[in-house]
Symmetry: C2
Subunit: 305 residues, 2 copies
């Protein structure tokens, strides 16, 4: 799979319901998997939605309210019991490292794999991690305790070689590697084919941004500007604007306003309060401000394109 997808494992808020699990989602980028938040039961949701964890090497925890990390202990234990050997990278507020080590100590667990802990406090101006074709960065949200959002940018780093050219001139692998990096091609008869004639233009970057939990704050606009898909919390409806502010959460109208001001392509709502039996009001309110809004659904996969 060469796409860029997010699968929602949980989109509830602090208190689970019969249909809503605490926050967790899986982003897939070609062969890689990346988990954003790990609420209680995340590993069971992965089983339910048939998501393998073999390629899950990076877990991001936005903040230390339990509905965003209580599933981490169980997931780490399962990795251990399955004999995992690949290192696991956890990006989280620094306090989580001590808690996780405390838990491993009292259960007398000596992990078989390296657990590389990256304190989010240390990543103000550098990517959390990156590869040749993506970069993951974090930015501060505005919640009651220190909280971070995350942004994943998929980039075309290599030129794609035109298929008709390949069929006609049958370049060697070495030649293809050079062309992908911008080189020209010389035919057997000595004719120079310029790079731009034999490659396709770089595709625009694709960006996914995640904002949960946060109150509306204009400082966020720059961070999510132009995202192709923005997952934004919508804990409350607009009639509860005051309580949203007091608790440092957003209404669905706040989320839609952020999407509009940041010029994103599509908005995905989540982190719904357990008080709503029917979410259609949240959607309607958001769409009145930003029409290209969807309600996230657990188990559903959304393409970032």
């Amino acid at each position: 799979m060469t796409g860029f997808y997010v699968t929602i494992l949980g989109n509830g808020s602090a208190v689970p319901t019969a249909t809503q699990h605490p926050s967790s989602q899986i982003v897939r980028l070609s062969e890689e998997q990346f988990m954003i938040d790990c609420g209680e039961g995340a590993q069971m949701q992965m089983i339910k939605y048939k998501i393998k964890h073999r390629k899950l090497n990076h877990i991001f925890v936005s903040h230390l309210h339990g509905d965003h990390y209580f599933g981490l202990f169980g997931l780490v234990a399962t990795f251990h019991l399955f004999g995992r050997e690949d290192p696991l990278n956890i990006y989280a507020p620094s306090d989580l490292q001590k808690l996780l080590e405390h838990q491993l100590r009292i259960s007398k667990t000596n992990l078989r794999f390296n657990l590389n802990f990256h304190a989010l406090e240390d990543y103000k101006s550098k990517p959390l991690f990156k590869s040749s074709y993506y970069a993951v960065t974090t930015f501060p949200l505005y919640h009651r305790i220190p909280t971070w959002g995350v942004k994943i940018r998929k980039q075309d780093k290599e030129l794609r070689v035109d298929k008709e050219f390949v069929a006609k001139y049958k370049p060697s692998i070495d030649q293809i590697v050079r062309i992908k990096k911008g080189g020209d091609f010389v035919t057997e008869s000595g004719k120079v084919l310029e790079n731009k004639e034999i490659t396709l233009p770089l595709r625009p970057d694709k960006v996914y941004a995640y904002c949960s939990d946060t109150v509306f704050n204009e400082h966020l606009i720059d961070h999510v500007q132009g995202a192709d898909l923005l997952y934004h919390e919508a804990t409350f409806d607009s009639s509860m604007q005051e309580i949203a502010k007091e608790k440092f959460h957003s209404t669905s109208v706040d989320a839609a306003t952020m999407a509009k001001k940041a010029g994103v392509r599509k908005l995905l709502l989540g982190h719904y309060s357990a008080r709503f039996d029917d979410l259609s009001e949240l959607l309607q309110e958001a769409r009145s401000v930003f029409p290209n809004t969807l309600l996230s659904e657990e188990g559903q996969t959304y393409s970032i394109k």
Copy 2:
């Protein structure tokens, strides 16, 4: 409800599966609820099986392997968010208290209710708690880390007054209270009705015993002797006797042998390894030793009688 029941929330072992959740169960005794173990997702299983947590005041954690307590953080957080005021009693290995306090500290949670922590190490010879009609005691199991079993004894502490006598002589409430405590009754004509004529005999005690996780050890027999219902782990089948011993777990035949030697009335198997798709072999093996054996099923309620 005046009965004595156990509802299974989770009967899997360390690694959850699509159908098995980590260990947790709810014992109901008249108006009281008592949770035994609290694996990840226990609060979601309570929602699924429509079990209210308003009357849940006592939680027992057998040992500090994660599949027996990772659900506790979330359940405590939910109690807090629902505005709980009643104290919550947790009976667990002492190390859990520090871990729970550590978690509450980093999430900046000041619980609205008292969390009374009772270290299982301190209860060698006294009940964990008791009321006029039941007593809960603990006893050591034989696992890789310190682990405790639990036994709940329901007792008829007051005599039950014969209904025909009440209909005929219409005793006052004060008189009924005296009769329940063993007193006689004097009719208006001065005739003495002896206590044994106007009451029903005390019913025998009802006992539920829980043993998970443990290797087979004859020292356990005394503790579960004569239980009406014994929940016993059966992580492995008899072909895996060696691995069971090595990991300090039981086979289904070990569980049945314990049930037989302790003269229990009924055996309920659980804590199944994730490797079994079909549990019928475990059941058959156990029944060959102890016929009155059942496979526990998640969501099912078993009466202790």
